[in-house]
C-alpha cells in the first residue's frame, strides 16, 4: 500500500533521514520505534508532504505521493500530528466536521461521524463543548477522530500516547486496534515501544536516521539488544 524507498530528509545541514525504506501493506499496524531525534516524526511528515525530501521516493497504492499535504489527504493519507492539534476555539463537533472538509458524500460523512462517536463515547458526550477545554487525553481522541473523518485509508499516528496518563495510554492503544478493524491501515510512531510492539504486526527500529532493524513485532520485542536499548531492564525481568 505504502512504499518508501531510500528517503533522505535534511534540516539545513542536519541529515534527519539517511536512506530510509519501509513498506506498509493493507490491513497492517506497522510501528516505528526509536529514541528522541531518531527521525520518526520526520518520516511521517515527509510521507504526508509537510516536509520535502531531498532524495528518495514515496508511493501510495502504486502512485507517487504529492508534495502538498492537502492533496495527499485527498489520496487517503490521514495524519494525526504530534501534540494533538485541535481547533481550540471550535466545538468538538465542528472539529470533527472539519476533518470531512474535502468530502462531499454527506450520507457517508454522517455515518462516519456516528462511527467516530461509537469509537470515542467521551467525545460524543462532549460534542458541543469547546475543544480547548477538553483534557489532554480527550484532545488526543478528538485529533484521532478528526483524522478518521477524512476517510483516509492509511492513518499516520505520531506519538499518540505522548503526555497521557498511563490509564489513558492503554485506552488509546485499544482504540488504535479498533481503528484497524474499521478497515484502516496504521503507521504508528511511538516512544512507548512496549505498548506499540504489543499491538503492531511488524516494526522498524529507527536510529539516527537509519533503519537498523526490522521484523515481526514479536521478534523485535524479544530481541535482546532492542530490549536493552528501548524496553528497559525492568521489562526484561518481567519477561
Amino acid at each position: 500500500m505504502l512504499s518508501v524507498r531510500d528517503l533522505h530528509v535534511s534540516y539545513g545541514g542536519i541529515r534527519a533521514l539517511r536512506g530510509v525504506s519501509i513498506d506498509v501493506h493493507k490491513g497492517e499496524i506497522i510501528t516505528i520505534i526509536g529514541a528522541n531525534g531518531a527521525g520518526k516524526s520526520t518520516l511521517l511528515n515527509a510521507i504526508s508532504g509537510i516536509l520535502k525530501p531531498s532524495q528518495g521516493e514515496i508511493t501510495f497504492n502504486g502512485a507517487p505521493l504529492k508534495r502538498e499535504p492537502s492533496k495527499n489527504v485527498k489520496l487517503g493519507i490521514c495524519h494525526v500530528p504530534e501534540g494533538r492539534l485541535v481547533f481550540a476555539n471550535l466545538t468538538v463537533k465542528d472539529n470533527l466536521a472539519l476533518g470531512a472538509y474535502l468530502r462531499t458524500d454527506r450520507k457517508k460523512i454522517a455515518s462516519d461521524l456516528e462511527r467516530v462517536y461509537e469509537l470515542f463515547p467521551r467525545i460524543k458526550e462532549r460534542s458541543s463543548q469547546i475543544a480547548g477545554t477538553l483534557s489532554g487525553g480527550e484532545q488526543q481522541m478528538l485529533a484521532m477522530g478528526r483524522a478518521l473523518m477524512t476517510d483516509g485509508d492509511l492513518v499516520l499516528m505520531d506519538e499518540p500516547s505522548l503526555g497521557l496518563a498511563p490509564i489513558l495510554v492503554h485506552t488509546v492503544f485499544q482504540i488504535i486496534k479498533e481503528i484497524l478493524r474499521l478497515g484502516k491501515t496504521i503507521l504508528l510512531v511511538e516512544q512507548n515501544a512496549n505498548m506499540a510492539l504489543k499491538i503492531a504486526d511488524r516494526a522498524y527500529v529507527l536510529e539516527q536516521g537509519l533503519i537498523v532493524k526490522t521484523g515481526p513485532a514479536a521478534d523485535i520485542a524479544s530481541d535482546p539488544a532492542i530490549r536493552a536499548a528501548y524496553l528497559g531492564s525492568k521489562s526484561v525481568a518481567g519477561g
Binding site: 502538498e68 490521514c78 481550540a88 485529533a143 478528526r146
Partner: protein, 299 residues
C-alpha cells in the same frame, strides 16, 4: 469644508489599505510591517499611468492594484514558507527595499518626490468613498467564503488545517495578494488626491500605522477595521489644537483604548444589524434577571 472633506478622503484611502491588511493579519494571522511598500508601488504606478502615459485615472488605479498584486505573488513565493515572526521581518525588509529604489529613480522624482501628479476634483472626489465601499463588500464576501474560512483555519491551527486538507500555502497567498492589491489601490488614490508623492511617505511608520489600525480595531473583525481606520485617521486631526503635543495625545488615546479593550475595539466580533439586536437582547435579559434577583432578595 474642504479640510473636512480632505480628512474624510484620507480616512477612506486608509480604510482601503487597512481592509486588505485586516484579511492578511486579522483573519489569516500573518503580520506584515511592509505594506507601505505596496502602497508606494501603487502610488507610483498610478502616477506614471496618469501623468506620463496620460491615461484615465481609473486605468491608473487598476494598474496600481495589478502591479502591487503581481509583486506580492513574487514576495509570497519567497517568504510565505517562513513562520510567524520571520515572515513579519521579511515583509519589513521588503518595505525597506522599495523606498531606496524609488529614492534613486530620477525619472519619478527620486528622493525629492514627485509633484504635479494629475489631481481630480468634482465628481471624482466621490471615488475614494466608492472604492472604500467596494473594498468593504469584497473583504466581507471573501472572509465569509470557503477561502475565508480556510484563512481562519490557518490562523487558528496551521498544521491541523493542513491535515484536514486545507492548502495552507494557497490560502496565505490569496490573503497576501488581496492585501497587496488593496494597498496598491490605496496608494494610487493617495497619489492622485494629494497630487504629490515622495518615497519617504511610504516608510515603516506608515506600514506600522496600518497594522496598528488593524490590531486596534480587533483582529478578525472587518467592522472593527472600518471603525478603527476612521477613528485613527480623524483622531490626530481632532488633536490639532494641541499643536506639537498632538501626537502625544494620539499615542495616549491609543494606549488607553488598548488597555481598556485588549482585544481591540471589536475583539473579533462583527458589527452587523443582527449582532446589534443580539447584544441589545442580551443586555435586556441581563437587566431582567438582575431586576428579578433584586426583587427576590426584597422578599
Amino acid at each position: 469644508m474642504e479640510y473636512i472633506l480632505g480628512i474624510l478622503i484620507l480616512s477612506a484611502i486608509n480604510l482601503v489599505a487597512v481592509l486588505g491588511l485586516s484579511v492578511l493579519t486579522g483573519f489569516t494571522g500573518l503580520f506584515s510591517f511592509g505594506h507601505a511598500g505596496f502602497m508606494a508601488i501603487g502610488a507610483y504606478t498610478s502616477a506614471i499611468v496618469t501623468a506620463r502615459l496620460h491615461l484615465p485615472f481609473a486605468v491608473g488605479l487598476l494598474a496600481a492594484g495589478l502591479v502591487a498584486g503581481i509583486i506580492s505573488i513574487g514576495l509570497g513565493r519567497l517568504t510565505l514558507k517562513l513562520k510567524g515572526d520571520y515572515f513579519c521581518i521579511a515583509t519589513m525588509g521588503f518595505g525597506e527595499i522599495v523606498k531606496p529604489l524609488l529614492n534613486n529613480w530620477k525619472w519619478v522624482g527620486g528622493a525629492r518626490g514627485w509633484e504635479s501628479i494629475p489631481k481630480y476634483g468634482g465628481i471624482s472626489l466621490l471615488l475614494p468613498f466608492a472604492v472604500a465601499v467596494i473594498a468593504v463588500i469584497l473583504s466581507w464576501n471573501l472572509i465569509n467564503s470557503r477561502q475565508g474560512r480556510n484563512m481562519v483555519a490557518v490562523r487558528e491551527e496551521e498544521l491541523a488545517a493542513q491535515m484536514a486538507g486545507v492548502n495552507v500555502l494557497r490560502s496565505k497567498m490569496i490573503a497576501l495578494v488581496f492585501s497587496a492589491v488593496l494597498a496598491g489601490i490605496a496608494g494610487g488614490l493617495m497619489a492622485n488626491f494629494i497630487g504629490f508623492i515622495a518615497p519617504k511617505t511610504f516608510n515603516m511608520v506608515k506600514s506600522t500605522e496600518l497594522t496598528i489600525i488593524v490590531i486596534f480595531g480587533g483582529l478578525g473583525s472587518i467592522s472593527g477595521s472600518v471603525v478603527a481606520a476612521l477613528l485613527l485617521t480623524v483622531l490626530p486631526e481632532l488633536f490639532r489644537a494641541f499643536s506639537s503635543w498632538r501626537l502625544v495625545f494620539y499615542g495616549l488615546a491609543v494606549m488607553i483604548i488598548m488597555i481598556g479593550r485588549p482585544k481591540g475595539l471589536m475583539g473579533g466580533l462583527e458589527l452587523t444589524p443582527t449582532s446589534l439586536r443580539k447584544a441589545a437582547a442580551a443586555r435586556k435579559a441581563k437587566r431582567d434577571t438582575a431586576a428579578a434577583t433584586a426583587e427576590g432578595e426584597k422578599r
